[in-house]
């Protein structure tokens, strides 16, 4: 990765190193972290020794941490409201990603910023859920007939909904991957293995292995890489929290095989270890299902490594933009077969603005 972001990565790997940064280094790191959505994360990691940071720098970290804490409070409040709206829905309603980390107070939650709340529920409950949410004041953003078909037939989620008064965004998923995607997984198993969340009567969270697999799948099927590094930091925090237990790694690989998510898991382990020095046992990498050949892994390095650095100009190299473009195309390729994808891209290219 570009040496310009070496200090930023070092801060993520070894927070204590931040105490030794000079003002000039901070001038870059604060901007890089802000662009990557990780300034609050650095704030959370530095809170214990902030008197050793320059006061002008700590102000920014503390400000981002304050924002993250407010968002965490807001998510708790929002979930309390949502559980009333969803009272009558049968079956588990599972929180994913940020909302799950915040509600269960998992390690990635510290200093993390949110954009929306993600839910996963059985496909059979989708219509009832949408109706209940609309009664609760959640509305879908305006879409034309094509967009609606795109979401309802091919995607793994409803069109994003926003609460009319509180302005919160909500994504309701019934699967981890689009219906039209090349890769098929088994969301029913994730719902079945989820456990009720203490303190939030209507919600469950995925089992630890499923939290990791969902985060990895989301990241490595993504087309927009602005938050790629942040998602990798989430994975790093989860793997460090659960990986201390030796049986975890065997269960994780086994689960990846069952859910057909070996490849995204492989990438997650590879890049978390490479960029964030996450302690991943050698056997876990070696025995990962769907492990790519060394040639194809080398090709993916050329794409993924620059993409993780795409959030800020100081980190971007010559390869960043082409890599980001290829990954954008790849994400669509993974999402839809060609006979759907080509008309879809053509439509997006010709449509003047919006989705």
């Amino acid at each position: 990765m570009n040496p310009a972001c070496a200090a930023f990565l070092l801060a993520l790997r070894e927070p204590r190193a931040m105490a030794g940064f000079d003002a000039r280094t901070w001038d870059k790191v604060v901007r890089q972290a802000r662009a990557a959505g990780l300034l609050g994360r650095l704030g959370a990691r530095a809170a214990g020794f902030h008197e050793r940071l320059p006061p002008a720098v700590w102000r920014h970290l503390e400000a981002a941490l304050t924002l993250a804490e407010q968002q965490c409070r807001a998510v708790h409040w929002e979930l309390a409201q949502l559980s009333r709206d969803l009272e009558g829905i049968a079956g588990p309603v599972v929180l994913l990603k940020g909302a799950a980390y915040a509600a269960a107070d998992l390690p990635p939650a510290a200093g993390r910023l949110f954009t929306d709340i993600d839910l996963l529920l059985p496909r059979a409950q989708l219509d009832a859920t949408e109706a209940a949410l609309m009664l609760g004041g959640w509305i879908s953003s305006p879409h034309d007939a094509y967009d609606l078909r795109y979401f309802r037939e091919w995607m793994h989620e409803l069109p994003p909904m926003q609460h009319i008064r509180r302005q919160t965004w909500l994504d309701v998923h019934h699967n981890l991957l689009p219906e039209s995607a090349r890769r098929r997984t088994r969301p029913g198993l994730i719902l079945a293995a989820s456990t009720p969340l203490p303190g939030f009567p209507r919600f469950s969270i995925p089992a630890p292995v499923d939290l990791v697999l969902h985060s990895a799948t989301h990241l490595f099927h993504e087309g927009e890489w602005q938050h790629g590094l942040r998602d990798l930091v989430d994975l790093d925090a989860l793997l460090r929290a659960y990986g201390g237990e030796p049986a975890f790694w065997g269960r994780l690989l086994e689960r990846a095989r069952t859910l057909n998510l070996g490849r995204p898991l492989y990438y997650a382990l590879r890049y978390a270890r490479r960029l964030l020095h996450t302690p991943v046992p050698e056997e876990a990498i070696a025995n990962c299902p769907e492990r790519p050949s060394s040639l194809s892994a080398a090709v993916m390095d050329v794409l993924f490594l620059p993409a993780f650095a795409c959030a800020h100009a100081e980190c971007r190299g010559l390869l960043t933009r082409p890599a980001a473009f290829v990954l954008y195309v790849r994400s669509h390729w993974l999402r839809m077969p060609l006979h759907l994808l080509l008309p879809h891209l053509l439509r997006k290219a010709l449509k003047p603005e919006g989705k």
Binding site: A23, R24, V30, A56, V57, R59, T66, Q70, A313
Partner: protein
């Protein structure tokens, strides 16, 4: 002696501005880049007393420049960038300087969550700060300008920063934004006032900025203790009159007109409550500036 912007030659200022002019205002450092002549002229006229810094950590990297592309030929536009991000829609090219001012306010209001931030002007005299929350059109900026030009220390015209450690007010000492009739009014009442170019037809009407008094800038490192909150209201023919404003209402007003009251959670509540406890709260109606100045003088006598 520290280097101030006014000590640069005209050429040196423009050369530095093209690369990044490292300016301090209160607790913040801005690295400002622009190739616009009107931005250089605005800084030259309104910021001469502000210190320049070298290297190290800058709070905000900002830029105001013409928008590239075909728009250069037809109704050219300018925009504001914070680092790589452009938060606003482009404006006509001749609004570049007010756009820089608004952009700098946006940076502070959006990122300085370290402070409780109220949407209010604030000035200090005899060690006592007076906060002026004002709804648009209440004559807040005119009054702020008149006070600043009559011996009061200007702390801020738009954003009142409350320090989370001690509840004191942290100065910014940036130029005061005058709108529409108040530009001519201040020019007439204070012929010595230094006022920048007037930008016509902005979303706020005509806008011009007033240079802050040098002593306010020189003392921008000194915090001030809050003593009064005054809700001003200009009304034709009114006699200047201070009346008590309910503290409960002042609390709600400060909370709802703050930039980040709810974002700070419990801390926001505590800082706001301490502020209202420390201040006498007033409604103030006036029509003539000289009466207003006399009334404010009495507040801190």
């Amino acid at each position: 002696m520290a280097l101030t912007l006014g000590l640069l030659s005209a050429r040196d200022l423009r050369r530095r501005l093209a690369l990044g002019l490292d300016l301090r205002t209160g607790p913040f450092r801005f690295l400002i880049r622009s190739r616009r002549e009107d931005v250089a002229r605005g800084l030259e006229r309104l910021y001469p007393d502000f210190p320049l810094e070298v290297d190290g950590f800058r709070d905000f990297h900002v830029r105001v420049d013409a928008v590239a592309g075909l728009r250069r030929c037809y109704k050219p536009q300018c925009n504001f960038w914070h680092d790589e991000h452009a938060p606003f829609k482009p404006l006509p090219l001749n609004h570049a300087f007010p756009l820089l001012e608004w952009g700098m306010n946006w940076c502070i209001a959006g990122y300085a969550q370290h402070y409780l931030m109220l949407h209010a002007a604030v000035l200090e005299r005899r060690g006592r700060a007076v906060i002026l929350p004002g709804d648009p059109g209440a004559g807040k900026s005119t009054l702020t300008a008149a006070l600043a030009l009559s011996g009061w220390r200007l702390l801020s015209d738009e954003i009142t920063l409350i320090d989370r450690e001690d509840g004191h007010i942290v100065p910014l000492a940036r130029p005061i934004s005058l709108k529409n009739q108040s530009i001519a009014l201040i020019r007439e009442a204070f012929p010595e006032a230094v006022i920048g170019d007037t930008a016509l037809d902005t979303h706020k009407g005509s806008v011009a900025h007033l240079r802050p008094p040098p002593i306010s800038v020189a003392r921008m490192g000194e915090k001030a203790r809050p003593a009064h909150i005054v809700f001003p209201r200009w009304r034709a023919e009114a006699t200047a009159r201070l009346t008590r404003h309910s503290k409960a209402d002042a609390f709600i007003h400060a909370a709802t007109h703050g930039f980040n009251y709810s974002l700070l959670g419990r801390l926001g509540f505590e800082l706001n409550a301490a502020l209202i406890d420390a201040c006498a709260c007033w409604d103030f109606e006036y029509s003539r500036l000289e009466d207003a100045l006399a009334a404010f003088e009495e507040l801190v006598a």
